[in-house]
Symmetry: C2
Subunit: 543 residues, 2 copies
């Protein structure tokens, strides 16, 4: 049935091509359009010409200044150079003539004046409350980027770089006159990368973070460890990765982790670690079997979730999370809590006895007992916590500032219902349920991601205020270093736009033309910048 | 519904991990197993050690000798070097001890004696009747590869190279004592690559061909041109690609094509061109609108399939196919014939008038009229023809040696029914219907490809004799140079094994353990050889 449906869709795509008005791509890329769409943008067809090699970023008087700003200039200066290769293409020219109404030539732009209204310090880290607002004027009066914070300047530099396009003449680099006032709709716009099911080399992690910056996302959620492997090198417990990693080479040592954090920081991106417990911890047991629940009653040698009945479990976690706190600069830790199977606990006589002694009647309550203790440990370490939705659904009493991460949308689970329940309980929520990048569909499946909006959950305005954003999730069971970046981009660009740009209704009859054309340009732009993004839509090409 | 099903599958995968006996990958790679599985292999746990740098291929006395053979030695000598990096890994060692029962050490192998029983000439080309049989002995008596033809020697070298594995000690390169007698089940084992929906640079084409050799496939079916673009540079009609390619850079010029053919030839792989007509030709119309049927009655500027009513259409095709014959060395041309929409012909008054004049009552008959003329043109050029199944299904009278390519399996179309009809009509058939690589499924979808066998079509033995093989199809609407190789391998390895190895029944309850483990090894092997293959199964890693 499944296969038949897929094939039928393909059949329809095939048959619709029996005659074609124009050959070439279904969606011709836009020129100089921004992804994600800015909150407010006045556009004009009149254009400036920019000579990338002679171009300069100029700090205005009284502007703040720091390393983050300067390294942004360096990066975007390099990116501007990638627009300098003049190309003469008849086909390209044809397309241009057809699709871009060309306005008046307004002159040459030699520099962008940057005005950081606030201060910035070399060692600033982005946090959940960063101000990412910016204003960008490209007019005959001024070519000016201003923002209250350096994070806004970074977002504005990205937008500025996206304005550039190759002129219809095939050799001038142009940008249209425009005025942009822009800021994100949600403050947490992330991507989860699982580095435990397949180890991802730093090269790919950097490419993923580059992509986040190009899509104005601001959280790299690092799903560091899981059942299958433990690649995070703990200095307190080096045996965890020594024995728990797939291989001694497939680890993230303290330098690696600091390099990733710094790479992300300079791009205004937080690195939020996840130490998923009590389930998803089988790799811990290679070096520390005593931490896990023994369920050899179920199967010879089987070990289950962390053992919630022993104090040493919590002592170990206190040490480990303490180290995580000192390594990662983020205020948040993701504590996991998903997919805890109860059959192992159930099979263990000591666990059952412990529950009796402590008047714990259900396994959900046992999970609550565990999670509350772990959240307390995190709180004492001055971490704010995020947990997967099961923790909330199972009725764990959570501190007010714990964020619930909604991920299930199958069977009896509907993300909108869960979201209503979470926000009705005055909890902040993060949405991932409709943005699982490991779910594949034949054809251009970014549209199904684009259909999903955190706001469409049927809650009150007050409840909607509890939604802090969302994350695309790249679980890595069937991606390795060779296809992970390809699978993320441009598919994660869909949630990136849903989380940044103004709300738009995307129903069944939504006209995707403009969005598809803009995503074509954005994908080719990512390709030019070294991201091996796959095609978003259908047949096409990038120059 | 579709989404729900996908998610439910994922849910089951997730829940099954509530407790895990062992961390690490679900399927541990085998060591020194061959993909595709040989017809006959005697195995032993006793092993030899091989020092790749000191290793030599030695031609036996009276053996044939030629460039193809020598270049094979050079390639496989290089591949052997990739096994020389000794690695010490505790985890690896553990796995080895667990999964390989280690036999007796039999000594060092310094060379492989190669005995080509027949002749070979520097300029031989593989054709559909090549003899790929080989025998490989790795015993204390002899380390000998013999075959009647150079093509068999190439297949045997591939198998020999796959026997090598890293010993449990973490540094010796080993191979187990074995005797193999091997030959393919089907003679046409191909992969279609569409270079028209997205242009594929030569780098990726070479990687695809490398992969074909590593999977003992022998046909590179080059879907050169289509509606969207015409990247093939014709010397007779250079305007076809000058105007019809996506860009003047995105073409295959005569040198490119010769390089691809030579690259494939040295690996025993045929390059079969497809010039798909009368549909899928919109890109021809950029330079030659007069060849296409005008259907502006349907939509302003619309052009449809080639115009079957005008003699100049056939004169043009005669010239173009004549050039194709002189460029490609293969005996076969794929003439397409799929997805011809009749609404354009129907809308054109001249076409309707022509049908009346010539007593052609249906559009199927008009298509027949066209196809028969084109097959005659191909025949006169000494080409054998392959056509997509519609040509047969629509009742076109075909010469006996025309091969029918079965690709549909949706709605009212069932590949097994089509196959029965084709073979009952004494036509040879090629199967692709269940091996469309552009169809995606969440998780490890190579198994659904593996379930499909050309023999399971319910025909008689005589009918089964008409099946000459099959092809995996990589249509390129949503793949570009960045993900095409990743998407092909190792998924196309499934049809590769179905087409080479002995028939096995793969039902719902088939135990995939051995096959999955072997495909893990094969995938890692392809990665080591520079093919960016994606993971086949689930969590895992390659050393």
């Amino acid at each position: 049935m499944l296969k038949w449906q897929l094939l039928f869709v393909l059949y329809l795509i095939g048959l619709s091509k029996a005659y074609i008005v124009n050959p070439g791509p279904l969606y011709v890329a836009t020129k100089g359009e921004i992804w994600p769409r800015p909150q407010q943008q006045q556009k004009s067809d009149d254009y400036f010409v920019l000579s990338p090699r002679d171009f300069q970023f100029i700090l205005s008087e009284n502007s703040g200044d720091c390393l983050i700003l300067r390294s942004g200039f360096t990066r975007y200066f390099k990116i501007l150079q990638q627009n300098t290769i003049p190309r003469f293409s008849k086909r390209n020219q044809q397309k241009s003539v057809k699709n871009v109404s060309e306005g008046e030539y307004l002159g040459v732009i030699g520099n962008l004046t940057v005005n950081l209204q606030g201060n910035c310090n070399d060692n600033d880290y982005p946090d959940i409350n960063v101000d990412e607002k910016y204003q960008l004027n490209v007019t005959t009066d001024a070519v000016l980027l201003s923002a209250p914070s350096v994070w806004g300047i970074l977002r504005g530099l990205e937008s500025f770089s996206q304005l550039l396009y190759l002129g219809a003449d095939g050799y001038t680099v142009r940008l249209n006159s425009t005025v942009i006032v822009d800021y994100p709709r949600y403050k947490h716009r992330g991507l989860l990368l699982d580095t435990a099911r397949h180890y991802m080399p730093l090269t790919q992690i950097y490419q993923v973070i580059d992509g986040l910056a190009y899509n104005k996302m601001n959280v790299f959620h690092w799903h560091l460890v899981d059942d299958q492997s433990f690649p995070f090198v703990s200095e307190k417990f080096p045996e965890l990765s020594q024995l728990g990693a797939y291989d001694p080479l497939f680890v993230y040592d303290p330098d690696d982790v600091q390099n990733v954090i710094e790479y992300a920081r300079l791009r205004g991106i937080r690195v939020m670690p996840e130490i998923d417990t009590p389930g998803h911890t089988r790799s811990w047991g290679v070096s520390h079997p005593e931490l896990l629940t023994n369920c050899s009653a179920l199967e010879e040698g089987a070990l289950g979730p962390l053992d919630p009945t022993r104090e040493r479990t919590y002592e170990f976690l206190k040490e480990l999370l303490g180290e995580v706190k000192s390594v990662f600069k983020d205020q948040f830790i993701h504590l996991g809590g998903d997919e805890v199977g109860f059959e192992c606990w159930q099979s263990n006589a000591d666990v059952v006895a412990f529950m009796k002694t402590n008047n714990i009647s259900t396994y959900e309550d046992l999970e609550s007992y565990y999670i509350q203790k772990v959240i307390n440990i995190a709180n004492n370490l001055l971490f704010n916590s995020i947990v997967w939705e099961e923790v909330f659904v199972n009725g764990v009493s959570l501190p007010n500032d714990t964020i619930v991460h909604v991920w299930r949308d199958y069977g009896d689970y509907h993300w909108d219902e869960t979201m209503r329940a979470v926000t009705a309980a005055n909890k902040d929520a993060l949405l991932s349920a409709c943005w699982y990048l490991d779910h594949l569909q034949t054809g251009g499946d970014w549209k199904s991601f684009y259909e999903c909006d955190p706001n469409d959950f049927g809650g009150s305005d007050e409840q909607a205020g509890h939604i802090i954003g969302g994350e695309a999730c790249m679980w890595s069971e069937v991606v390795n270093e060779y296809n992970v970046v390809q699978r993320i981009w441009p598919r994660a660009s869909a949630p990136a736009e849903k989380l940044w740009s103004p709300y738009i209704q995307v129903g069944t009859y939504f006209d995707y033309t403009e969005t598809s054309q803009r995503l074509e340009e954005h994908t080719c732009r990512m390709n030019r910048r070294g991201i091996p993004a796959q095609p978003p839509n259908a047949a096409g090409f990038c120059l």
